[in-house]
């Protein structure tokens, strides 16, 4: 297997285990490249990529753009503020206009779940989902899994815990798919109000007692409370949430086990995770960010190979 089974990266759901391993293998090569003095390779010099960000982003946008530049692709950026979206243009029209300017690949972040799947059915281009509402964020899950494998090896039968706002997190869903495809057991933990009722259909364990859940885990992924996606209150107060689901050093060290701590960012220090934990040796948060560039280079390289 040396080519992906898909032409777009819409979600981890659409990938198989071979795809994941091919992306990881290719990322190893790119990780070596981005640690060279000259971090650029000419592979994508005849490819033009448009980054369409209909929603705010720091890490993902920068990471994609760096990855594109290190592959020598031509890059155009678009963000919805100050664009014709406010004049009433539809998504398909916007994208088709951009494609008319001879763009080969679209990287899109959008607040609506399924936006990239919808787009892929309506336009002819290679699409990479950089986060669509509460649905999926595939490159984040790929870099999470890659960083974890780097740390603890094969994920087969490992226990991975995802904590926090499962309901509003696209990282949670993509993570669940990725870890399960790699053979790991996934547990989600958080206030009942933030765990979707149908989550058990995905074959994940649900645990509301954080300490109990931690005891059985090899790694924990701490998610941010997505206040911007909440129209009502899901828990009594932030203070109460922190007491029950915040990861602190005393809690972590009271469990006699080396647990890897991950966070997709942005971190709300003192809410889901204390500074002491976020900056500790057990946290691989900055490794995740570094690997993000290599993973995105691999994804774009492998998808570019399939461009007609």
């Amino acid at each position: 297997m040396s080519s992906l089974s898909v032409d777009n990266l819409l979600g981890i759901k659409y990938l198989n285990k071979q795809d994941l391993n091919l992306i990881f293998k290719t990322s190893d090569n790119f990780k070596e490249v981005i640690n060279r003095k000259i971090k650029k390779v000419p592979s994508l010099r005849d490819v033009t990529i448009a980054n369409l960000f209909f929603e705010n982003s720091t890490r993902t946008k920068l990471s994609f753009e760096l990855a594109q530049k290190r592959l020598s692709a031509d890059v155009v950026n678009f963000s919805s503020s100050g664009s014709s979206i406010s004049k009433g243009e539809t998504l398909i029209d916007t994208v088709n206009n951009i494609l008319s300017m001879k763009v080969d690949m679209i990287v899109m972040r959008h607040p609506s779940p399924g936006a990239s799947v919808f787009l892929s059915k309506n336009i002819k281009s290679c699409i990479i989902n950089a986060g669509d509402g509460t649905h999926e964020h595939p490159t984040q899950a790929l870099l999470d899994a890659y960083s974890l494998i780097e740390k603890i090896g094969d994920l087969k039968s490992k226990n991975i815990l995802i904590v926090g706002d499962i309901m509003h997190s696209r990282v949670a869903l993509s993570n669940i798919f990725a870890y399960q495809k790699l053979g790991a057991n996934v547990t989600v933990c958080g206030p009942k109000s933030l765990i979707p009722k149908s989550i058990e259909s995905l074959n994940v364990n649900v645990e509301t007692n954080f300490r109990q859940a931690l005891k059985n885990s090899d790694a924990v992924n701490m998610l941010r409370i997505q206040n911007e996606r909440m129209s009502e209150s899901y828990f009594p107060s932030t203070r109460e949430y922190v007491q029950q689901y915040g990861l602190t050093m005393p809690l972590l060290s009271s469990i006699n086990k080396e647990i890897i701590v991950m966070h997709p960012g942005p971190i709300n220090r003192g809410v889901e995770i204390t500074s002491e934990v976020a900056d500790s040796d057990q946290a691989i948060i900055l490794d995740q960010v570094e690997n993000g560039v290599a993973i995105r280079m691999a994804v774009m390289y492998l998808l570019a190979a399939k461009l007609k």
Partner: protein
């Protein structure tokens, strides 16, 4: 048609010895010379040569690195095959050194062109030379010639020269395959 054996193990051994002596003659103790083998097929040749140099010239500072050229190739998205990368391992500086690139077969010259570009990411060498076991002359698409050459082979474009190493394929040998894609 059966493939034709161009070189057997004895002949290869003689050639490798000669190439090693040529390198020692030109580069003495390898203070300012490094060997960079092109992945994946030049790697074993590079290892063999450096082993022989260590045998014949005990006091040397020879360093060997491995260069993967996949991301620098000019046929990405143009050939049917999806290119698969190997590891690059260059753990020394090539700034102001003489680099001897090592590959098994020199054919169109395009791999070497990619290697010349890729090597720039690691510094500015004083000089770059090329060593190949087989030189398929008359089939070059770029103005590239070897400085050290095992043997020259005359072949048609639709033929293929395959080098076998005992590390991977039981025996050292070189075959010419007719009409192979």
């Amino acid at each position: 048609m059966n493939p034709k054996k161009i070189l057997n193990a004895n002949e290869i051994s003689t050639i490798l010895n000669r190439l090693s002596f040529q390198l020692i003659e030109d580069h003495n103790t390898f203070n300012d010379t490094v060997i960079i083998a092109i992945q994946p097929r030049g790697a074993i040749l590079g290892k063999r040569i450096s082993k022989l140099i260590n045998k014949y010239e005990k006091d040397n500072n020879l360093k060997i690195g491995y260069l993967d050229i996949t991301f620098f190739r000019d046929d990405f998205r143009r050939s049917q095959k999806v290119l698969k990368a190997s590891a690059t391992e260059i753990e020394f500086t090539i700034e102001n050194k003489t680099v001897v690139l090592v590959d098994d077969v020199l054919f169109t010259g395009r791999s070497i062109r990619a290697a010349l570009n890729a090597i720039q990411s690691f510094g500015r060498p004083k000089e770059i030379q090329l060593l190949t076991l087989i030189d398929r002359r008359f089939s070059r698409e770029l103005p590239i010639q070897p400085d050290y050459c095992g043997t020259q082979v005359d072949s048609r474009l639709n033929e293929k020269v395959i080098v076998h190493w005992k590390e991977n394929d039981l025996e050292d040998s070189v075959y010419l395959h007719k009409n192979k894609k």
